[in-house]
Symmetry: C2
Subunit: 315 residues, 2 copies
């Protein structure tokens, strides 16, 4: 199981590969919301997203003879890029299973770090099965994108940085896909100070954590349809579900229209580019869905990898 | 005259109104250039540009009975916005003289801070004369956008932050318009360590500092034509010219095409939005115009105020 000590050890382990990202006070979002809002800028993280924290924490714990046989993951986006990046830095071969309709730009980013691309299926479930099968056949280490203690502890280092930079934080908002990021952050922050409130934010069209919490167990979403491509996970893991159930105060749901406005507002008012998944926390503020007032709030901006075409359409 | 002590005092004076902006290590620009490149993110500064530093340092030194009569400046952009912002915070009335063809979005930003807009002429020279005339008639304090010791010392606080965050910096690149920013930064950094190299960067179509240095004195450019609207100053001031002559190692010139590529690259690779004037330093790197290799270099990104339409056209 993940724990606070594990997050502290993760921080020391991955320090060479990651940035301690800025916590940027946003005048604009503070004025709009009536809160005092700080943005945790993981869009400025190496590889453009928080995923490198978990990937580094996992890969650096594989013993080197195993690692040299190779690592494999299933991801169409930021996790695949992160695994490829870290594997290339430590000299392990990497394979990434991507959907047959993967966007060229994301595939290119993974290829640029020297990983091998395997096109397979469209649903994340099919790809995970394929990656696990190959991992057995070829003795590669399979690296899940969220449901593993080392991944969760790696992502939790975001929480340690928030506590360090804003010790009197009162509320933290975190985007939720499979739940790795919010599990790690909630664990780090609540074990330090249980009074801090943690809210997850999901898109209406990809609300698997909300749906699972209602059902009382990890439950598969049949239909997923959201612009937030990093949050299209169809089901939380057992580990991330348990941590969210234990530590997270509430899940807020936002629409694609709200996400688009948040992305444009962040860009024009705060001069920061984020991907749709990265701004669901800001969408929650702009839509007036964050309870209470006048609190010191951190909104995690989880990543910034978005195609120029999408930005162009939103402006 | 401006001096190092004055910059230190400016820092203490303006601390409530400004951000100590992040110094962001850029993996992408480092790999592209062969240098180790840090971006000084004044695009994330309050009001979206460094100008607030000088404006605050000036306005906070006016005695309050004089201040209450009002302040006036001539600016079509970031300096006007900064003066309006600080004046509104300390409760002084403000007037800003803008060109008759000023962009609506920039005028709106100034108005939003409660300043009164006066449309006058097209050239900066005409506007400055008009503002000075009104300042005499209406007993308003005229605040020049660059050629004053308090303005220069205010902008110099950028230099103090660079020294603090990267004590072993070897080279600093700074955009040059009227020369207020580079004068302050060069003074702060060279008086601390004369070995650090300071390069100014100007657009070919607005190279008044380069032209004046060649001529040996502040000299007026007759034709100005560049996308970098914050660097369209037709002539350096006597104070800024003297400081640049004394402290700056060289001026690098870049084209509008190079500026456009730099803006797009910063946005897509580093997830940061800057205005054309703000990225001339990056244009110099991408064009291979920065001498030597393997140095710790700071590129100042001076501001981020750019219309959505311009971003759209560049993507």
């Amino acid at each position: 199981m993940s724990n606070f000590k594990g997050i502290q050890k993760a921080r020391d382990r991955i320090v060479k590969y990651i940035k301690h990202t800025p916590l940027h006070h946003s005048t604009y979002f503070s004025q709009r919301s009536g809160h005092d809002i700080y943005l945790k800028l993981e869009n400025l993280q190496n590889t453009g997203a928080f995923k490198i924290r978990g990937a580094a924490n996992y890969i650096l714990q594989i013993n080197s003879s195993t690692g040299k046989k190779g690592v494999i993951t299933a991801s169409s986006g930021n996790h695949g890029k992160a695994v490829a990046f870290i594997a290339s830095h430590v000299g392990y071969p990497a394979k990434v299973v991507v959907p047959t309709d993967a966007s060229l730009s994301k595939v290119e980013a993974v290829k640029n770090y020297g990983a091998k691309i395997i096109y397979w299926g469209k649903a994340s479930k099919e790809r995970i099965e394929k990656a696990k099968k190959l991992s057995k056949e070829e003795k590669l280490t399979f690296i899940h994108s969220f449901n593993h203690p080392w991944i969760i502890e790696g992502q939790g280092t975001v929480g340690l940085e928030i506590i360090k930079d804003l010790p009197d934080v009162e509320t933290v908002l975190v985007p939720v896909g499979g739940g790795g990021l919010i599990s790690g952050i909630a664990l780090a922050i609540k074990e330090n100070n249980p009074k801090v409130k943690i809210y997850g934010v999901e898109p209406f069209g990809g609300n698997s954590m909300y749906f699972s919490l209602q059902a009382g167990k990890p439950t598969e979403l049949k239909n997923i349809n959201t612009i937030a491509d990093g949050l299209r996970s169809s089901q939380p893991g057992d580990l991330t579900f348990a941590l969210v159930k234990k530590y997270v105060d509430n899940i807020i749901l936002v629409s694609d229209a709200e996400i688009k406005i948040a992305l444009k507002t962040l860009l024009t008012k705060e001069k920061l580019l984020a991907e749709p998944s990265g701004v669901v926390t800001l969408a929650a503020f702009l839509a007036g869905k964050v309870p209470s007032k006048n609190e010191r709030v951190v909104a995690v901006i989880s990543g910034g990898n978005v195609d120029a075409e999408i930005i162009k359409r939103l402006l």
